[in-house]
């Protein structure tokens, strides 16, 4: 299974071969690629076997195991997203790419856990973005290779059916752990918050983060039955006393600011030993914030390679987390 960064011409040859791929690269390059069994999303940041790399001239291809079958690829508009798990094959997996800042992004982020059959069938993927220099100027896009179409509004999904003896498994690597600070809970689900409960008492998150001089490169972390799920802090508006997030905080969940972390690369090597189960992953992606805050550019991070994204999907939207999928059996 091929996985790596290629020049557009090399990528075009592979995509025209009939094999199936997930593609990441600059929107201009995606648009020029030939039709084929592939989905794509815009992003110029990658984690390769040689280390983190930013490139507007190359595309990252992850071959998708389809075992001789043609995958079903389709766009999901915001109103179609609740069907995503129902449309997935009974035995297989689905890969999703969502354009950042779109309505589909907002809807999926807030509601995916409530979709019919959520968590019943494997769903992995990522949120397409742009070069940080282009933030606010260019809209992220996703691509349907079978139809050779781009969209900045709908998500694109590849549904793959597996033979009965095969099964797909999705897992995450999150090096952040809840810190020793206050427990924060919110009354409402949303991408921003102000008033909340801090250690059970009414408070304001923006005030709290500023007063405690919190390192806002660290995410808020919630414990989902042992899985640590991050919500990354995008900005603090001191005047409006509100905090913006890269994923929604959920009403009723208990969050803590993550504990400071040592060197990401060293921590990652401990969490994902070389030659372990994760090293056989057929798909993985990591977060642009890990790429930036943890200084991954030019540094090798184990065997898990892929795009550095504006959000990761493992059944639901995640932040500052590595997602990977294996196919066993």
């Amino acid at each position: 299974m091929f996985s790596g960064l290629l020049a557009p011409a090399e990528a075009a040859t592979l995509l025209a071969s009939g094999r199936s791929f997930s593609v990441a690269g600059d929107a201009r390059l995606l648009e020029a690629l030939p039709a084929g069994n592939w989905i794509g999303g815009s992003i110029p940041y990658f984690v390769t076997e040689q280390g983190g790399e930013c490139s507007r001239d190359k595309v990252f291809l992850s071959e998708v195991p389809t075992f001789g079958k043609t995958p079903q690829i389709r766009f999901y508009a915001r109103s179609d997203l609740p069907r995503i798990f129902l449309d997935a094959p009974e035995n297989g997996f689905s890969l999703i790419i969502i354009p950042a800042f779109s309505q589909a992004h907002a809807d999926f982020a807030s509601n995916a856990p409530e979709y019919e059959d959520a968590f019943m069938k494997p769903l992995a993927g990522w949120v397409a973005g742009v070069h940080l220099d282009d933030l606010g100027k260019v809209a992220p896009v996703v691509a349907n290779g079978q139809r050779k179409m781009l969209s900045d509004a709908a998500a694109v999904v590849m549904h793959v059916e597996l033979p009965p003896e095969k099964s797909a498994h999705i897992d995450i690597v999150n090096l952040f752990r809840p810190g020793e600070g206050s427990v924060i809970t919110f009354a409402e689900t949303g991408f921003s918050a102000g008033d909340c409960l801090i250690d059970g008492r009414p408070g304001n998150l923006a005030d709290h983060l500023l007063q405690t001089q919190a390192d806002t490169r660290l995410p808020l972390v919630a414990d989902y039955c042992g899985a640590h799920i991050n919500v990354s802090i995008r900005s603090i508006d001191a005047a409006a006393r509100r905090v913006e997030f890269y994923a929604p905080v959920f009403a009723g969940m208990e969050y803590r600011l993550a504990a400071p972390m040592g060197d990401y690369v060293e921590g990652f090597a401990l969490a994902v030993p070389a030659g372990g189960h994760a090293s056989s992953a057929v798909f993985s992606c990591n977060c642009i914030l890990n790429y930036l805050h943890c200084g991954l550019e030019g540094r090798r991070v184990g065997a898990l390679t892929g795009p550095a994204t504006f959000g990761e999907v493992a059944y639901q939207l995640l932040n500052q987390t590595l997602v990977y999928m294996t196919v066993d059996g």
Binding site: F119, M120, I172, Y224, A227, M253
Partner: protein, 238 residues
């Protein structure tokens, strides 16, 4: 001895048609052995109230008596005729029902195997034997099948209280699958806000459906549910 035996009869709740045949304290009072035999008028193949020899006996470790490890000796031929009395057990499992209930309660509270052994003064090998038998379904077979409804593969029936208990947080299990961690978290959050029994049952069925669908990957989680299922039954029985 007759008076003390009568007191221990009461202490252990041994009643007709059974009685205490003998009680022996080892030197230094570090262990108590109790023989239970048929009472007057009952006998097996003429053996009657005679204390069985070791080769004719089954020995179960019972709940500690006054801090001392307690062993119950019964005639091998009588095993299976005691019913669900707390001092009895099954031929293949080295513990009485009462001690099994204690073990399962501690394990359900998240106490480690090593700590259970330390707290109850049990050999680790015996506890592993019990766990092995339990997970192979021998415990259920010895008790005549799933008392509260079961189905193939050891998955508790959807009607069993263990599912609702998992969702309302009365019990916890170690989960190793990301999708199940996320699903339980979401269902628990919903359970907190739902009072209607019908809607709660829908959530229970969703969780059960997940387990059915992913049964092959959830051996560890299902074994823990069965521990809780067994614990619940034994609490009811004893």
């Amino acid at each position: 001895m007759a008076e003390s035996v009568t007191s221990i009869d009461r202490l252990l709740n041994v009643g007709s048609p059974w009685q205490i045949g003998d009680v022996q304290l080892t030197t230094g009072g570090r262990r108590v052995d109790i023989w239970i035999v048929a009472d007057r008028g009952r006998s097996w193949f003429g053996r009657g109230q005679r204390l069985p020899s070791p080769s004719e006996s089954v020995v179960w470790r019972h709940s500690n008596l006054c801090g001392m490890p307690c062993y119950i000796h019964v005639p091998m031929l009588a095993v299976g005729q005691f019913g669900d009395v707390p001092w009895a057990g099954d031929a293949k499992i080295p513990f009485t029902y009462a001690l099994r209930q204690e073990i399962l309660t501690l394990l359900a509270e998240g106490v480690s195997f090593q700590s259970v052994c330390k707290l109850l003064d049990l050999p680790l090998t015996d506890l592993w034997k019990y766990k092995y038998a339990f997970e192979r379904g021998q415990a259920e077979e010895a008790q005549g099948g799933e008392a509260q409804g079961g189905e193939g593969g050891g998955l508790p029936d959807v009607e069993h209280i263990v599912w609702e208990s998992l969702l309302d947080g009365r019990i916890e299990i170690d989960v190793h699958t990301l999708s199940l961690k996320l699903l339980i978290t979401r269902l628990r959050a919903q359970f907190k806000t739902i009072n209607d029994p019908g809607v709660r049952q829908i959530k229970v069925r969703e969780l059960h459906r997940y387990f059915e669908r992913h049964r092959q990957a959830l051996g560890g989680e299902i074994a823990q549910l069965r521990h809780h299922q067994q614990s619940n039954r034994e609490i009811t029985n004893v």
